[in-house]
Symmetry: C2
Subunit: 347 residues, 2 copies
């Protein structure tokens, strides 16, 4: 019997149709990584002049900006979805609301290596990538026009990536988007009722039930979420309550790096090379100041940051567009069990 | 300057990043229609035994059920996402809500022809397909367990279709999903304030502005929506207020058939063969009865049915998953203008 499940944080339902697994569902995974010649790759070392000048880099050798020698390099997106300069100019015409597309759009070049993924990158290098996110989140967070900062990573053409070289992106938005807003409102409401964090309670419940916990380390817990939209969707939480990823300690970052590398290695072993999206779900830009409109009540201490890992094995189709529902052909409990088994074989 | 726009019906923002059009965005359209040998196609005539027995068909020649001679044929999905028999058994464990996956999942086989699309099917045949939707919506609407009925169509592999033979699907759900609920709540709220239909007002405003109207016939208006998520997204509305597609008259259906055929022909001429999803946004299942919990206040007369046509030219990626925002690289006004030009060349 398929099951309808509601996400415990937001009002999103999914159909867990595990019996559909009997159907020849093409888990023949289709992943295309554009394989440009590194000489032509705009993100490779020695091609620094093909990107806008860097806004941050990690260099251990004292090399100069916009020259080789970097380990992680952050540059503005050459084709930004939003423009950095200008005023918002919020306005309306009748039923329509609009504003100028003000925001930031940066590219984090994650490694000088042209061919790599987070399972093959070293944990030390992954930690450096996280540090680059933290630095940019803090710098962009100072801009009073920005209300939400999103860090995300698209891997493979099927997940929307247009460049093969390992990279992620940061977008700063002048409004709080619907999805984070729903999560924040839900966490706020729960805290007001119970004086406890909704996400902390969720983690505790999953630790008690032991059905969907994929992995636990000192600082991190990996869950196969109860109402997963996608097969093998995974959520990575810090075990200690924290609303802001940009404040995570070096220890937490290194632990997260090791856990992500380990779990992604297991997943690739289990289902093969696959396209995926990875998104950071962080509290909104937390810079309330005297004179600045406080659009989120207080500091969103009741939020709990997490990463969502979304393998792109199924296609979004008419049913999803028409309802906001998702159909997931793999039960989250089965995904967790397969992954736990595979993880025991990872050294 | 890119623009942020809010959908006038729900709280969804999009970035209209028309300047990104300068980027070599691959409108090299990728559409794969599985091309099975018609002999192997489970939806072709003479293969009626490869589907579950039909629940409805349109036959002009007096032929018997589950034999050739049909013009449109409706069968239960062989691999249903939901099961028809059983109780809902709503239940919860701590933070988790769930219920049995009770519902209907039917396939509307739209024509005996193996290779066709809505631009090549005759208007008479398209009208027959709409009649089949109406009949099934009415029959499924009698089942008191069903709260929402969705009709949708996936064309091309990139849009989630797994069979080439022209077909659409109907899913009956035991709950009112989030997206229709948001639209309904918004329309209800607007009506309570103004005693006017939100969609009627939207149509009137667009007729006044004449920027995003793609086409108008006697009964139908086609809009390139102000906050379109996708390039060349189109919404088809009846000009006269009506909440329920299953009650549309034969005249309206024939007009809709002619308009859809015409507009889809123009679009294919403009951007080539492309994958798409098409979804009916109808009022929730309107069968309040004595003793039946009235979950939607009154009959949803304040709703206004419409079809959403969603070409799949861009990919949903991390940014969309992380925010619920969409980035659309083609301004809806430009899409409308291109289409209007192309439509003048269609006889």
């Amino acid at each position: 019997m398929p099951e309808l499940r509601k996400d415990p944080i937001i009002q999103r339902w999914v159909i867990i149709a595990a019996e559909r697994g009997q159907r020849p569902l093409d888990f023949k995974v289709e992943t295309t990584v554009f394989d440009v010649n590194p000489k032509a790759c705009p993100l490779c070392p020695n091609n620094e002049d093909r990107t806008p000048p860097e806004v941050f880099s990690i260099r251990l050798d004292g090399s100069k900006p916009d020259t080789p020698g970097w380990l992680v390099r952050v540059v503005p997106n050459k084709f930004p979805a939003l423009k950095l300069d200008g005023e918002l100019n919020r306005r309306g015409i009748g039923l329509f609301d609009m504003m100028n597309g003000i925001g930031a759009h940066e590219v984090v070049i994650e490694t000088p290596e042209h061919s790599a993924d987070w399972d093959t990158i070293s944990a030390e290098q992954l930690q450096r990538i996280f540090v680059a996110y933290q630095v940019r989140l803090r710098v962009l967070g100072e801009d009073e026009r920005f209300r939400y900062l999103l860090v995300f990573r698209n891997y493979g053409v099927q997940a929307g990536a247009s460049l093969a070289h390992p990279h992620s992106q940061i977008i700063a938005l002048p409004i709080l988007p619907q999805l984070p807003k729903e999560k924040l409102l839900s966490a706020r409401q729960y805290f007001l009722e119970k004086e406890r964090c909704l996400f902390c309670d969720l983690i505790f419940q999953e630790q008690e039930l032991q059905k969907r916990v994929v992995y636990e380390s000192e600082h991190i817990i990996v869950l196969s979420p109860f109402a997963a939209r996608f097969p093998y969707e995974l959520h990575f939480f810090p075990k200690q309550h924290s609303h802001d990823f940009s404040q995570a300690s070096a220890d937490v970052l290194m632990d997260l790096a090791k856990v992500m590398k380990r779990v992604l290695t297991a997943l690739k072993q289990l289902i093969g090379q696959h396209a995926y999206n990875l998104v950071l779900q962080n509290a909104p830009n937390p810079v309330p100041r005297p004179g600045r409109p406080d659009y989120w009540g207080t500091l969103p201490y009741d939020y709990h940051w997490h990463w969502e890992f979304l393998p792109r094995l199924t296609r979004v189709a008419g049913f999803e567009w028409g309802t906001g529902f998702y159909i997931n052909p793999v039960a989250p409990e089965a995904a967790a069990e397969f992954l736990r088994e595979t993880l025991t074989q990872i050294p």
